[in-house]
């Protein structure tokens, strides 16, 4: 019998090791797996490379992981957000490395990483400072940049419902990077509001097939970043 459900967020992230590449889903707070990130802070792994669209806000979730000095590098498209002070402070004091990637290139690099494609060409960023040091090639008279696929050791993702085989559906625009990060990481960990038995999700509507998911943990009432920030919460 296949059962990918684990009992707690702590169990789900227990083997994250120092130096791991950790992909973290979410676009702003939509899809941000706060409980898994907080469990990772408790777990203690350090020198992490985080792949995520943003860098969190306030002092909770992703921003709290950064503030706890567990992250040496972020690969990111937009590290500035309202209420975001942790990353700017670390960056300006030279304590964190930033690889800035256009958002669509970031998404395609992750997708390619999960799809077995080592590199691809994109028109985004041609002729800009983000093209520096990258191979440019012309196809049909237009210039493109070569970009590399991106793989993770772990992915932390937030879904709405998962079954014990790891099939996942999401909530609205919280889907964002979840499905592609699940494909690109060796160990993909998804927190969901509800875990159901196989058959509990119609195969026609499965968004992330279970083959891409290693662990599912039920977090019935996940918190939202904005609520914690508004309440002045600082984690831990």
């Amino acid at each position: 019998m296949i059962n990918k459900q684990v009992s707690s967020a702590g169990d789900a992230v227990k083997d994250v090791f120092d130096g791991a590449v950790v992909m973290v889903g979410g676009f702003g707070e939509a899809g941000s797996p706060i409980e898994l990130i907080h469990a990772l802070i408790d777990q203690g792994a350090k020198d992490l490379t985080v792949v995520s669209n943003n860098t969190g806000s306030g002092e909770v979730g992703l921003a709290a992981l950064l503030k706890a000095k567990r992250v040496s590098k972020v690969i990111c498209s937009f590290p500035r957000t309202a209420n975001s002070t942790v990353f700017p402070d670390l960056y300006n004091s030279g304590k964190i490395e930033l690889e800035l990637v256009p958002q669509g290139t970031l998404a395609e690099r992750i997708r390619a990483g999960g799809a077995g494609i080592p590199a691809f060409y994109t028109p985004a960023a041609v002729g800009t400072p983000l093209a520096e040091g990258k191979e440019t090639r012309s196809f049909d008279g237009q210039d493109y940049l070569m970009e590399h696929g991106l793989k993770g050791d772990f992915a932390l993702i937030k879904g709405r419902v998962g079954d014990t085989h790891g099939n996942i559906i999401y909530n609205k625009t919280a889907r964002n990077f979840g499905p592609i990060m699940a494909m690109a990481a060796k160990t993909s960990i998804v927190q969901v509001n509800e875990v159901v038995e196989p058959g509990g999700i119609d195969p026609e509507v499965v968004v992330t097939p279970g083959i891409f998911v290693n662990r599912v943990v039920e977090i019935a009432s996940p918190v939202y970043e904005s609520e914690l920030v508004a309440a002045g919460v600082s984690y831990p």
Partner: protein, 221 residues
């Protein structure tokens, strides 16, 4: 002082309205954050546009009523929105396939500088200490069929935003086809900036003096 501070040209709303009238019925449109978002309020009656937001929604609707939103139903500016009947959610790689694959008809963006060859700078001043953040701008300008800029004609300091060559870090090369400002509508052509329309009461010379490159006069039909 009053004669110096008197408003000249279109307001932000009038700029947005002027642009909205140029979007054909049925277009797939991505609106950037700020003045571009206003465009949706001025679409002429009888036209339906389908709004794309790059964080994974096609068929984006207006801001929900107080208490009816979902923190996980947001736009690219991370503000709560709604989903219109017929909307679809999708992941980021699909969303940028719509953009890069040329499936989106129009993108409207703000700008720091636009050059007369269509180059755009809108993501970074390049100043030390500024946190670089690019988001989806470079993908949008590289992939969407038409890219319009909507912006004040000059900076708060009075410097032209329409220039011969961008001095800020570029977002894309030769990507802008038209600019809507408080003073005029201007096309980017092979010959440079081409005036399409002046805002009411504004003279050609007034716009040329505030433009950092040659402005070709309006063509008569």
């Amino acid at each position: 002082m009053s004669e110096h501070t008197q408003a000249v040209g279109w307001t932000r709303e009038e700029m947005a309205s002027r642009l909205a009238h140029d979007i054909p019925n049925g277009s797939f449109v991505n609106l950037g954050i700020g003045i571009p978002e206003l465009v949706a309020k001025f679409v002429p009656e009888g036209r339906t546009l389908i709004y794309h937001t790059e964080n994974g929604l096609l068929g984006m609707g207006p801001t929900p009523a107080q208490g009816e939103g979902d923190p996980e139903l947001i736009n690219a500016g991370k503000r709560q929105v709604s989903a219109n009947p017929g909307a679809a959610y999708f992941h980021h790689a699909d969303s940028f396939s719509m953009i890069r694959g040329g499936h989106i008809d129009l993108c409207v963006l703000g700008a720091m500088q636009v050059a007369c060859n269509g180059d755009l700078a809108n993501w970074s001043t390049g100043k030390p200490g500024a946190i670089p953040a690019v988001g989806g701008a470079m993908d949008l300008v590289a992939g969407v069929k038409s890219v319009f800029v909507i912006t004040q004609h000059c900076t708060k300091n009075g410097d032209p935003k329409l220039v011969e060559r961008c001095t800020f870090p570029l977002t894309g090369l030769g990507v802008i086809s038209r600019v809507y400002t408080d003073l005029a509508v201007i096309d980017i052509t092979d010959d440079g900036f081409q005036l399409v329309e002046l805002s009411p009461g504004v003279e050609f010379d007034y716009v040329q003096e505030r433009t950092g490159a040659a402005l070709l006069p309006q063509q008569s039909d």
